[in-house]
C-alpha cells in the first residue's frame, strides 16, 4: 500500500516479519469480529445467518484470493489489472516481496485478510432477507471482479497509485468499495418485508460493543501493518489508529447528547468503526494532530448519513455506506488537504503547498464509487437472473437461521424432538426448505 519502496529488497528483517505475522492474524480475526458485530445488530432469528455471511466469506474470498485474486491485484504494474504469474500461489515463497523486508508468503497472507473482510462488509446491506446460496456466489465473483481490480488500482501498482493517489490501508479497495457496493446490493435485493413498518431492533447490543472493540483491536494490524513492517509509516498509522477513533467516538457521543440527551451504545460502536475507517486511507500520511481533527470532523457527516438513511426506501440495513463508504471517501479526500511530507516522506497536501495531491485524491474518490456501485449492481442483477436472490415472505417471518441454516441461535430445546439419525437422512419437511 502507500509505503515507500525500500532499498535492499532482498533482506528479511525479523522484527518487521514479527509485526506482520501479528498484523495478519489481527486482520483475520476482524472478520469473525465483524460477524459478531453484525449478528448483534439483527434480530435473534437471523443472528446465525448474519454471522455466517461473514464466516463464509473467509472460505470463499480466501480461496478465490489464493487461486486468482492475489495475482490479478499484485502481480506487476499493469494499469488496469495485474498479471497471472501468481495464480495458484505460483512463485509466492519465502523470498521477500519486492519493496518489503518480509517474506512474500506473509505479504500474500496479509493481503488475503483484506480481501476477506471487504467481502464480509458488504453483507451488512442485505442481511435478514438475502438467500445464502446467491450470497456465496456473489462473494466469490465480487472478490475478483471488484476487489482485486480496485486493490490493483489503489495499491497494487495500478493507474490510481501510479497517478499519485495516496491510500495507506484501503480507503479505495476496502472502504469505498464495500460502502458503495452495499448500496447497489440493497437496491437490487430490495428491502425487508417489514422495513419501515415495524421497528427492527438489534437483538444484542452487548455483542455489538464487543464486536466493535475487537474490530478496533484488529484495526491496529490493519492500518499498522500496511507499512509492511515497523518503520515510520507503520508507527504513524498505528498511533493514528488510536487517536482518530477516540476523537470520532467523542464527537459521536456529543452529537448524541445534543440530539436527545442520550449517548447510545450502538452509536458508540458505530463511531469506533467510523473512526477506524476515516484513518484507514490516511493513517501513514498525516500527522497525529490532523488525525485527531479528522476524527472530530469526519464523524459528523457519517452521523447524519446514518440518521437520514432510514428515511429513504433503501434498506441498506447495517449502514455500510455511512460507516465505510462515506468515512472512506472523507479519509481519502482529507489526505489531499493535510498530507505532510515531513511525516510521510512522500508528499504534501494542499495545506502544505501541493494542491495537486487533492486532485489525485478526488479522482479516486470519484472513480471508486462509480466502479463499485456499477459492477455490484450488474453482478447481482446477473445472479438474480439465474436464481432468486430472496425467499418467499413467510420465510422472512420464520427467520433466515431456520430456513437457510436449519438452526436457531438460541434453541430452548423444548419442542425439539430427536429424530433417529437414520430418520435424519430423510428429506426435511416442506416448510424447512430454502
Amino acid at each position: 500500500m502507500g509505503a515507500p519502496i525500500l532499498a535492499q529488497a532482498t533482506q528479511i528483517d525479523t522484527g518487521d516479519t514479527a509485526w506482520m505475522l501479528t498484523a495478519t492474524a489481527l486482520v483475520l480475526m476482524m472478520t469473525p469480529a465483524l460477524g459478531l458485530f453484525y449478528a448483534g445488530l439483527v434480530r435473534a432469528k437471523n443472528a446465525l445467518n448474519t454471522f455466517m455471511m461473514s464466516v463464509s466469506a473467509i472460505a470463499i474470498a480466501g480461496l478465490m484470493w489464493a487461486l486468482i485474486g492475489y495475482s490479478l491485484a499484485f502481480d506487476g504494474t499493469g494499469d488496469l489489472i495485474g498479471g497471472l504469474n501468481y495464480v495458484g500461489l505460483h512463485d509466492v515463497t519465502f523470498a521477500p516481496r519486492d519493496g518489503t523486508t518480509i517474506p512474500h508468503l506473509v505479504f500474500f497472507a496479509f493481503q488475503a485478510t483484506f480481501c476477506i473482510i471487504t467481502v464480509a462488509l458488504i453483507s451488512g446491506a442485505v442481511v435478514e432477507r438475502m438467500r445464502f446460496g446467491p450470497w456465496m456466489i456473489f462473494a466469490a465473483l465480487w472478490s475478483v471482479l471488484v476487489y482485486s481490480v480496485l486493490a490493483h488500482w489503489g495499491f497494487g501498482g495500478g493507474w490510481l497509485q501510479e497517478g499519485g493517489t495516496l491510500d495507506f490501508a484501503g480507503g479505495i479497495a476496502v472502504e469505498m468499495a464495500s460502502g458503495f457496493s452495499a448500496v447497489a446490493a440493497a437496491i437490487v435485493v430490495g428491502a425487508r418485508k417489514d422495513y419501515g413498518r415495524i421497528g427492527l431492533l438489534p437483538h444484542n447490543s452487548v455483542l455489538v460493543l464487543l464486536g466493535a472493540g475487537l474490530l478496533w483491536f484488529g484495526w491496529f494490524g490493519f492500518n499498522g501493518g500496511s507499512g509492511f513492517g515497523t518503520g515510520d509509516p507503520s508507527v504513524l498509522a498505528f498511533t493514528n489508529t488510536l487517536l482518530c477513533p477516540a476523537a470520532s467516538l467523542f464527537t459521536w457521543m456529543m452529537l448524541d447528547l445534543i440530539r436527545d440527551r442520550k449517548v447510545t451504545a450502538v452509536g458508540a460502536a458505530t463511531a469506533i468503526i467510523a473512526g477506524c475507517v476515516l484513518i484507514t486511507p490516511a493513517g501513514g500520511f498525516i500527522s497525529p494532530g490532523w488525525a485527531l481533527v479528522l476524527g472530530v470532523l469526519g464523524a459528523v457527516p457519517v452521523y447524519y448519513v446514518i440518521a437520514y438513511r432510514p428515511r429513504t426506501r433503501v434498506d441498506e440495513t447495517l449502514d455500510v455506506l455511512a460507516a465505510h463508504g462515506t468515512a472512506g471517501f472523507l479519509g481519502i479526500l482529507f489526505i489531499g488537504f493535510v498530507a505532510q511530507q515531513s511525516w510521510n516522506g512522500l508528499s504534501d497536501g494542499w495545506f502544505y503547498g501541493h494542491i495537486g495531491q487533492l486532485g489525485d485524491q478526488a479522482l479516486a474518490a470519484l472513480v471508486t464509487p462509480l466502479y463499485a456501485f456499477g459492477m455490484t449492481f450488474l453482478l447481482l442483477k446477473a445472479i438474480g437472473a439465474v436464481m432468486p436472490l430472496r425467499g418467499p415472505e413467510p420465510d422472512e417471518s420464520l427467520g433466515m437461521d431456520a430456513i437457510y441454516h436449519g438452526e436457531e441461535a438460541y434453541p430452548s430445546g423444548e419442542g425439539a424432538i430427536l429424530v433417529s439419525p437414520e430418520a435424519g437422512e430423510e428429506e426435511p419437511v416442506p416448510v424447512a426448505q430454502p
Partner: protein
C-alpha cells in the same frame, strides 16, 4: 369481567397493540410463548443430531376487560393478527371473578379503568 388470552404471530404483535390502542383497550400484558398447531414442522441439525422442531414462536396477550369490552378486544386482536395463513393463532375468553388494581386496591370495573379516564 373477562380475561382475553390471545396467541398471535410475533411479527403481528405490534399491529395487535395498535389495534387494541384504537379500541381503547389500555391494560395489556404480553409474553413470548412457543406454539404448536397446524403449522408444518421443521427439521434442524446440530452436528450429528437431527431434531424435528414442532413449535414456532408466538406472542401471548393477556388482557383483563369488563364484559362489554370483550367483543371490541377480540375484534382488535383479530384485526391486528390475521394474515390468513395457517398459524395465525387463537383467542380464549376466560371468566374472571375478581380484579384488583394493586396500587389502589380498587377492584373489578374500577380496576381496569385506566388512570385518568
Amino acid at each position: 369481567m373477562k380475561l382475553v388470552i390471545g396467541i398471535v404471530r410475533p411479527e403481528r404483535a405490534n399491529d395487535v397493540l395498535e389495534a387494541l390502542y384504537r379500541a381503547e383497550v389500555r391494560g395489556i400484558s404480553m409474553s413470548r410463548v412457543q406454539g404448536h398447531g397446524g403449522e408444518l414442522d421443521r427439521v434442524e441439525t446440530y452436528r450429528g443430531s437431527t431434531v424435528k422442531v414442532e413449535v414456532t414462536d408466538k406472542v401471548r396477550f393477556e388482557i383483563g376487560v369488563s364484559d362489554d369490552f370483550v367483543q371490541p378486544t377480540v375484534d382488535a386482536i383479530c384485526d391486528g393478527a390475521r394474515t390468513g395463513e395457517v398459524g395465525d393463532g387463537k383467542i380464549f375468553v376466560v371468566p374472571v371473578e375478581r380484579v384488583v388494581r394493586i396500587r389502589t386496591g380498587e377492584t373489578d370495573e374500577a380496576a381496569v379503568t385506566p388512570v385518568g379516564s
